[in-house]
Every structure is written in C-alpha cells, then in structure tokens.
C-alpha cells in the first residue's frame, strides 16, 4: 500500500483547486486582464463575457437564473450581505429604534451567520437561536414553533460544517414562503456536493464559496431570488454599485472564471463523487467502530453529508489524538485546537457534553481521497487511540467500572 504522505482529510475546511479550474483561470491574469466594468473597450468586454459565462455556470448548478448570482469574496461575505442586508431592508422601523423585526437562526450556524445576527441584535432586532435535538437536525416544525408575526428573516444552514447534518431546507423554505418571510441558507458545505434547485427548494437567498468546491479561495457567490418573491438586500459596502447594487467592488475576474468552472465540474461529477465517497466514509466509520470500544459517530446517522465524518473517541483528547496522526490532516472539536480554547459550540449545542467535544475528530473526504488513504487513516487512528488510552486515567477508571460522571473532579 503506497500512500503519499501527508494525507489531506480536511476537505470541509478547504479543497485543493482542481487543475482544470486553474487552467481556466490562467488566461485571465496576464492576457485577458480587463476590468469587467469597463464598458468601452475590448479588454473590458472580454472580461465581462468571461464573468457572464461563469455566472451562467454558477446559476446552472443551483437551478437559478444568471442574473440572480451576486459575486462576493466568499461565504463569510455572502452571509453578511444576506443576513444584515435582508434584515435592514425589511426592518419594520428605522435604524436606532428597537423592535425592528424578528430573525430566526440556530446555535449550529457558522460564526459568519451568528456574528452578523449578534450585531443585528445590537441594532434593535430580536433573534431566536434554535437549539436542535442531539441528532443536530433543524426541522420545519422547530422553525414553525418560533415564528412570530414580526419575523422578517430565517437564516439556517443547509448542512452543518462540523457534523454534516442536513436541515429540512425545502420544508423550511416552504414555511417561510407561506408566511412571507425571507429565507436565507448558508449552503457552503452543501453546494457542489448535493443537488440544488433553488426554486423547488424554496430558497430566497443562498451563500456558497469557491474554495469548498475545488475552486479558488477568495471567491464566493450569493444567490438572490428575483421573482416570487423579488428579494432586495441593503448593501453593506458602499461603492460603485456593482452586482445590482448589492456588492460594490471590481470583480475578481480570474477567481470568478475559476468559480464558474468549478461549478460546471461539480454539476458533472458530484453524483459519482458522492457515491464513491459514501462507500469510503462508511468503511471508515464501521471499521473504527468495530475495532474499538466507546467510539461514537456524532450527528444524525443518515441525514448527513456523505463525505464527512465526525467521531468521538472516548477517553482521549482530540488535540492529543491529532498529534498521534500527524500525517493525516483533519480537524477536532477539542478546545485545544481552537483559538478561543473553547470546545466546539456545535457539539456542545447537541447537548452531548463538553467531554465528547474534546474527544472529537472531523475527517472530511473529497475528489482525490483514495481507498488506500482511508485504510491508512483507519490503521493510524486506531493505533493513536490505543496509544493514548494506554496512558489515559479516564480509560482506566472506565475499565474499573467507575462512573466518570460521578467523580469529584478538580476543574481548573
């Protein structure tokens, strides 16, 4: 088994750029370098034509019209424009007042949605954050329960970035349309891996990013529905009025060309990629679960993305575990791996305890993941967990039958 090390299993963090994407981008740096907003010469026209083509490719992937695509710098910006832009546009009262409107989101959202929500709270909006059950799924019923007469916006991710769980997006969208509420979904982990039809899926505004779909970093998109309803968003950055006035700034033409190409490739290849990765993921999880005790898969067992696995290995700490598998690039919900030194708020929100978050590992696979790499990961994760359990006081206590939840710990 010849495996090239290190192995990349962090596709949910970012994907390598597909060489076909890079090839499409290259002419737009030095040769076709025009500003897409230059309307009066051939350099501008060529750039504009390239952007137009990319817009169609992006739209096709999600069943939208080309005009409904707004270029951004990535999902963080898309989410900011969507959440702040919709709230401010549809606010019941003006800036500086209270009672401007009600927004629904969830505790499992990415910070790029949670932080805009927090800033809107300071601006006079009310926000309800739904907490899911332990399976991590946000259902339409959960949304229905918290909708109010003054609800103006629902923002919920399609698939979670840490555990891959899939929310009931089409159903939630239908509910929002019934109640004339704008529905935004952060689909960063979903688009390019799973089919999207923004019309059938009842989506008004949707964010996604180039670098999660084998495209370049620094390039994202926002779908903004133009019909039934025609969604308007207040710009968060003032300037030249590009992108239907919703996002000013000279377009990143090479990035956009790459983004479009990446979308086109995903449209062709996502079904076969998904089927292949599901097999690898299932092998990965079932092997690890059968080789060791007290191993848990986090999130709903079926309703989750097929290329991602979030597992907790009892009695070992995530960062310590990652140190033992230094040839496998992955993520952990452990506090030690986060800048804030807090364990994953997503895993905590599932109500399964900080302990589980500390012991968690997220592995995400993609277009170039091979079965040999998965076998290598199974082998080395098993070894590392066994090594760490051999020095874990918690594992000893477990083996002696001591109930860890009843021990008087000296927390610091």
């Amino acid at each position: 088994m010849a495996v090239k090390l290190p192995i990349y299993m962090d596709y949910a963090a970012t994907t390598p750029c597909d060489p076909r994407v890079l090839e499409a981008m290259l002419p737009y740096f030095c040769e076709t370098f025009g500003n897409a907003a230059s309307r009066n010469h051939v350099f501008g026209w060529e750039a504009e034509a390239a952007v137009k083509e990319a817009r169609s490719q992006a739209a096709e992937l999600i069943g939208a019209q080309a005009k409904e695509i707004i270029w951004t710098s990535g999902s963080t910006e898309s989410n900011n424009i969507a959440v702040k832009g919709a709230a401010r546009m549809y606010a019941a009262t003006g800036a500086g007042t209270s009672g401007r409107g009600h927004i629904i989101s969830s505790r499992l959202e990415h910070k790029a949605v949670l932080d805009p929500c927090k800033s809107l709270e300071r601006e006079g909006f009310d926000v309800t954050y739904i907490t899911p059950e332990t399976d991590g799924i946000i259902t339409a019923d959960m949304v229905k329960d918290v909708i109010r007469d003054d609800t103006i916006l629902v923002s919920l991710m399609w698939a979670n970035n840490e555990i891959g769980t899939i929310n009931e997006v089409p159903e939630i969208g239908a509910l929002c349309h019934e109640r004339e509420i704008i529905f935004h979904t952060d689909a960063t982990q979903w688009v390019g891996k799973m089919p999207v039809d923004v019309v059938k899926d009842n989506i008004d505004v949707m964010s996604w990013s180039g670098h999660k779909i084998y495209g370049p970093k620094g390039c994202g998109a926002l779908y903004v529905r133009r019909r039934k309803p025609r969604v308007r968003l207040e710009a968060i950055m003032d300037g030249g009025g590009h992108e239907r006035g919703m996002r000013s700034g000279t377009l990143n033409v090479p990035g956009i060309v790459g983004f479009g190409k990446a979308c086109a490739l995903c449209l062709d290849e996502m079904d076969s990629d998904r089927a292949r990765l599901l097999k690898l993921r299932d092998k990965f999880e079932s092997e690890l679960s059968s080789r060791m005790e007290v191993v848990q898969v986090n999130g709903h067992p079926e309703k989750r993305l097929s290329h991602m696995s979030n597992m907790s290995f009892g009695f070992v700490e995530g960062e310590g575990l990652m140190m033992g598998i230094k040839n496998i690039a992955c993520s952990s919900g452990s506090a030690c791996t986060s800048a804030s030194l807090e364990p994953s708020y997503v895993l905590k929100a599932l109500g399964v305890g900080d302990e589980l978050a500390h012991s968690s590992l997220r592995l995400s696979m993609g277009r170039w993941t091979t079965e040999d790499e998965v076998d290598y990961a199974i082998e080395h994760i098993t070894k590392a967990v066994e090594h760490l359990r051999s020095m874990s006081p918690l594992y000893d206590m477990y083996k002696e039958g001591i109930d860890l939840s009843k021990v008087q710990w000296q927390a610091h």
Binding site: G318, A335, H412
Partner: protein, 141 residues
Amino acid sequence: MAYSNKVIDHYEHPRNVGSFGKTQEVKERKDIGVGVVGAPECGDVMQLQIRVNDDGKIEDAKFKCFGCGSAIASSSLATEWIKGKTIDEALELRNSEIVEELSLPPVKIHCSVLAEDSIKTAIRDYQEKNDLNGNAQADSE
C-alpha cells in the same frame, strides 16, 4: 501549532506511564500518594502517583494523562524530575521550569500548572495518609 521536539519526544516515548495498582488498592496504600487534577469537560485530566520511602524520598512516580500533547509531556516530565527527590525538593518544582524545558507557548501554560498541581496534590495525599503536617498547597500560578 508546532510542538517543540521535547514535547514530541515525551508524547511518543512517555516516561513512567502507569499506576501502582487499581484505584482502590492505591487508596489503601500508605506509601503512595495520588494526585488527580483537571476534569474531562475541560479536556485535561492528570493523574500522578508517587511512592515514597521511609526517608521521605520519592522512589518512584507514575503518571496517566487525558489531554493534549503538551499536557502529556508536562506530566511525563514531572515524573522524571521528581523521581529520586525528597518531598520537600519536589514541592519546590515550579510550573515555569516545565514551560521553559518544553518550550510551551502561552496557550499551553495551563498544562504546566496542572502538572505542578498534580505533584502537590499527590504529596498532600501522601501526607494526609500518614498524618504528616505538610505544607503542600495546590495553589501554583
């Protein structure tokens, strides 16, 4: 974050891993002091056990650790340093010395604090079992 070579060495080849017996057996032995500090929900639990002879010398030390590489290295190093020392000498060990030896970055200083506390807690346990008036305070900074 990159780990220092010393942290990696302790992680890969931990010194003195183990215990002197099952939890209950160890509790009943007067020559052994046990210190367990930290909590699973905080992501760090260190268990340090010392075996002390009649002259008050730490003849042997064992550790077990649930935690990151720096926590494992800090506790492994702690056992190395206190073996062969008297209780009074072991009490002088400061977490800053561990930080320095392992080149721990600021975010990992708490690992060294835990190691110092585990030594003090183990010594206090030994002293209490033997009705000795010790001065082991787990209040390191």
